[in-house]
Amino acid sequence: MSAPLQPEPDDFTLMAQVRAGQEDAFRILVERHQRPLLNFFARMGASNHGDDLAQMTFVRLWTYRKKYKPTAKFTTFLYTLARHTWLDFLRRQKRFSLFAERYREEIPASTDGGLGQLQRQLDIQAALEKLSPKLREVLVLAVHQSLAYEEIAKILRIPVGTVKSRVFNAMATLQELFHENRA
């Protein structure tokens, strides 16, 4: 008879172990959060540096593990680190929208079902990358990472109302840009 399946430990438990220097717990956290982090960086406009930035974020998580307070939600801590990683990246890379524009030029628009869907995704990504960094980060955290407004407010250190107004402005601007791209 096979052994009963053990529920995977939650992020709090794992971080407590990571704080104690347990690499196995860190490995589980890396495996658990690598895809959402990659998605975060891709939507922020750094998809061709996604692996590197996500790894750098995890490295910061390991380096600053002792600073994590169990009172805070783990994803708040993780995305605070991710945002710092991204801001550092921005300082190094001024042309953060170049990739999407170049990619859009390489793939022609099509009405074909498969390519049409891809084109739509490229258009939305191109529009997303035209947003100002302030609007883009709040939108990515809210939509792609599905973080609560309160959590986003803690990460960005702004009031919840400001988060909501930024999300609204981001959606409105994005809608215009998206339709412009598709026109």
Partner: protein
């Protein structure tokens, strides 16, 4: 207090929201986890707390300084007891004598060197670990064999007084040992019958009292056994 409406629930953005959420997440590289763990390990070293890094640096400097100090302040190899005693013990000939330095012309000092080595060994025998008894017995018996009926240890040549004096001191010390053989006591009595050259003896005693100022030509003639024996005697 009225809270602002959730913009993501606004029907105006429903289509846009669906498009955004339909964006497929990128896939990590196959060795993403392995690379991440490797980078984290490297970063751990780079991000070591500055105090710890300073402590490590200070420890390294202290070790280097300590090594440097030891290197500059360390006693010469000759002054280290194991080396000196090892030199003396390893240099004894099968007949019980110790050789002076090469060339062969210095062999006339063999008796002096043997006496000096014996004085050193008899000083070391007892308080320090190590059994030098056999070497002492062989050496004293050799000296006794060198002594003539009048009590002299060597024929006439330069340094004869030193040789006589050193050999007499060694024989006297041997005769005073609890394991002294009858022949040693007799040899000591014969040696005592030879009058000392007081001026030469004073000079030799002065040199023995300050081995660091030992005449270079004597050291050259006496060779490594003399240096080692003097080092043991001065302790």
């Amino acid at each position: 207090m009225k809270t602002a409406p959730d913009p993501l629930q606004n029907p105006r953005f429903a289509d846009l929201l669906a498009t955004l959420r339909a964006q497929p997440p990128p896939s990590p590289s196959p060795d993403f986890t392995r690379q991440t763990l490797a980078r984290a390990r490297q970063a751990e070293i780079r991000h070591m707390p500055w105090l710890l890094r300073v402590a490590r640096l200070a420890a390294s400097i202290a070790i280097l300084l300590g090594l440097g100090l030891w290197f500059t302040q360390r006693p010469p190899a000759l002054n280290t007891q194991p080396t000196a005693i090892a030199i003396v013990m390893a240099s004894q000939r099968p007949d019980g004598s110790w050789p002076a330095a090469a060339p062969a012309s210095h062999s006339r000092y063999d008796t002096s060197v043997t006496a000096l080595a014996l004085l050193a060994l008899m000083k070391m025998d007892g308080p320090l670990p190590g059994d030098y008894t056999a070497a002492i017995h062989d050496g004293i018996n050799h000296l006794v064999r060198q002594q003539d009926a009048q009590g002299r240890f060597t024929s006439q040549f330069s340094g004869v007084n030193f040789t006589q004096y050193l050999a007499t001191m060694a024989i006297r010390a041997a005769a005073a040992r609890p394991d002294a053989e009858a022949s040693w006591i007799e040899a000591s009595r014969r040696a005592d019958a030879i009058p000392d050259n007081s001026r030469q003896m004073a000079k030799l005693n002065q040199n023995l009292a300050h081995p660091a100022a030992f005449p270079p030509n004597w050291l050259e003639a006496g060779g490594p056994v003399t240096r080692a024996a003097l080092d043991l005697l001065v302790r």
